[in-house]
């Protein structure tokens, strides 16, 4: 089966991706042999550092958000696979500083495993680190146990908000508290339309009939609520936003951040059309969109579909979201 991708050696994908990434953004980031992506101009040690980890193949996430105002270190694993505990521990060590470090972990089995082991090692060494776990997927229901709630695109605005707080010189306790506040007020629901190919194995991640889509599918093809007939953009928008609104208990007068995160092959045109539907739906409920983002932040190769994200905002979170940042994939003036 001829996989249609521009690659060289399937076993060197992550390596070559990171080389290209470092070359393209040499003014902003460096990449170490252990696959730690770090800021070119390090943050002052009296400010809290932000560290995260995750598999490759979701570009621009996660490393595209390393830079001023967001992440200090992103530890990169193989395609769709968490990095092992040793490089994660190395990152926590490297981030060590009087102000301490916030360690953002997305809820995926491998990531959590590595992160927990690295945290144990960090604690054994007396490093100043606080962990935060994102798990905002509501596919299994908003009250499902944490193990059933994946960390999806929500990590990106969380990096932004925590990063801005860190940049503003807030203490580790404050940065952690802000991040947790946001973490507790956010929710994501995904929808898939066309499968992606695993670029290393060449395998198709899942199958969906020509007239079907699946709501709640995870970012590696993990099953959602089962396939259903393709709906119109407006119907899909209302269907999904209704579940998000319930999950974060939004009501008239509330102010939301909304993100439509393209999975890879879904066009920006479609995303804007869906956003229009979301706006219409929320307008109908008297809920205001005070912050938004439409585009590809965390992708799944050439999968078609998107993740719809919503979070309850307040003045402080909003101010942090709008604060300047300068990373390869997100710049705010």
């Amino acid at each position: 089966m001829g996989m249609k991708k521009f690659i060289n050696d399937r076993s060197r994908l992550t390596q070559e991706l990171l080389e290209g990434f470092a070359a393209a953004h040499s003014d902003l980031v460096s990449v170490s042999p252990q696959r730690l992506v770090t800021r070119k101009v390090p943050k002052s040690p009296d400010k809290v550092a932000l560290v995260t980890l995750g598999g490759a193949g979701h570009e621009p996430a996660l490393s595209g958000f390393v830079g001023e105002g967001m992440l200090d270190i992103s530890v990169v694993g193989d395609i769709f696979a968490a990095p092992g505990p040793p490089p994660v521990f190395a990152a926590l060590r490297q981030a060590q500083r009087p102000a301490g470090a916030l360690f953002v972990v997305l809820n995926h089995a491998g990531d959590v495993l590595s992160a927990d082991m690295a945290m144990q090692m960090a604690e054994a060494e007396g490093l100043k680190v606080r962990k935060i776990l994102t798990h905002e997927d509501i596919a299994a229901g908003p009250d499902a146990p944490v193990t059933d709630r994946r960390g999806l695109v929500g990590c990106i605005p969380l990096y932004k908000i925590a990063g801005a707080a860190a940049e503003a010189g807030r203490s580790l306790e404050e940065v952690h508290a802000l991040a947790e506040r946001f973490n507790n007020r956010m929710a994501t629901l995904a929808v898939a339309m066309k499968a992606a190919t695993h670029p290393a194995t060449g395998a198709t991640l899942f199958e969906l009939a020509d007239d079907q889509m699946e709501i709640g599918m995870g970012q590696h093809g993990e099953a959602g609520t089962g396939p259903c007939k393709i709906r119109s953009a407006d119907e899909t928008a209302a269907l999904m936003m209704e579940r998000l609104v319930n999950a974060i208990q939004a009501k008239a007068g509330d102010r939301l951040m909304v993100i439509l995160n393209g999975a890879g092959a879904t066009t920006l045109m479609e995303l804007y059309i869906v956003f229009r539907g979301v706006k219409k739906y929320l307008d109908g409920l008297g809920i205001e969109i005070v912050a938004s983002r439409v585009g590809e932040l965390l992708t799944v190769q050439e999968m078609a579909g998107f993740q719809m994200f919503a979070a309850q905002m307040d003045d402080e979170l909003l101010e942090l979201w709008k604060a300047p940042c300068n990373t390869p994939s997100l710049v705010v003036r």
Binding site: G55, G77, D78, I79, F80, A81, A82, G84, P85, P86, P87, A109, G110, L113, S114, D116, M117, T147, D148, H198, A200, T201, A203, L205, G218, H220, G221, E222, A223, G224
Partner: protein, 211 residues
């Protein structure tokens, strides 16, 4: 058949495991394709390469050091869940081996149980969750039957057989952990790749020792 082994025999056990995994990695990936993301064979292969490199580099420092370094290397090398879990198993073996100079079957059983225990503490999975633990927990139970009269190779064979039965039994389990978890009942009928590879690993230990 000898009733005791030397710490150095762990190197032969590791080589046996590496050979066994290498011969079966395609099958492991296929199992993972059915209920996961299809990379478990590769992950195990990478892990075994890391083990062999650790043997190469540290065998003069002794088997305890080899196991510790192999565990660390496996954690760095193998992607996904396999690296940390298998790495902690190997590091547990190293810690269990301690300063022993000769091991009878009960002593060997204790070492392997320590490895299994270390993995279990990180795994958070229980019996029946369709994970590596479903091979390793029955193996640990089988190891508990060790007596000083039993040949270590015989003990490992029994443990491996218990693990294989455990792996086979995962076919009837819906998944509770890892990627397969999201499949719910769709995972039924498929053996868990990680449980299968743990059974192979123990079988490789036994074969390495018998060789």
């Amino acid at each position: 058949m000898s009733k005791t082994i030397q710490p150095g025999d762990f190197i032969r056990m590791l080589r046996g495991a590496a050979a066994k995994i290498r011969a079966n990695h395609d099958r492991l990936s296929k199992l993972d394709s059915a209920i996961g993301d299809g990379d478990h064979g590769i992950a195990m292969l990478r892990a075994m390469e890391a083990v062999e490199r650790a043997i190469e580099e540290y065998s003069c420092a002794g088997p305890k050091e080899v196991l510790a370094k192999a565990g660390w290397a496996v954690m760095s090398a193998a992607g996904g869940s396999t690296g940390p879990l298998l790495g902690s198993f190997l590091m547990g073996l190293g810690a269990g081996l301690g300063e022993a100079v000769e091991l009878d079957s009960p002593a060997l059983a204790a070492v392997v149980q320590r490895g299994i225990g270390q993995m279990h503490s990180h795994s958070k999975a229980q019996a029946g969750d369709k994970t590596m633990m479903d091979a390793l927990l029955p193996a640990a139970a089988a190891l508990a039957g060790a007596t000083a009269e039993m040949a270590p190779a015989e003990l490992l064979t029994r443990a491996a057989e218990a693990a294989a039965r455990g792996a086979e039994s995962t076919k009837d389990m819906p998944a509770k952990f890892g990627r397969a978890r999201h499949l719910g009942p769709r995972a039924l009928g498929h053996a868990d790749p990680g449980a299968t590879s743990m059974a192979l690993l123990l079988a490789g230990f036994a074969e390495g020792l018998a060789r």
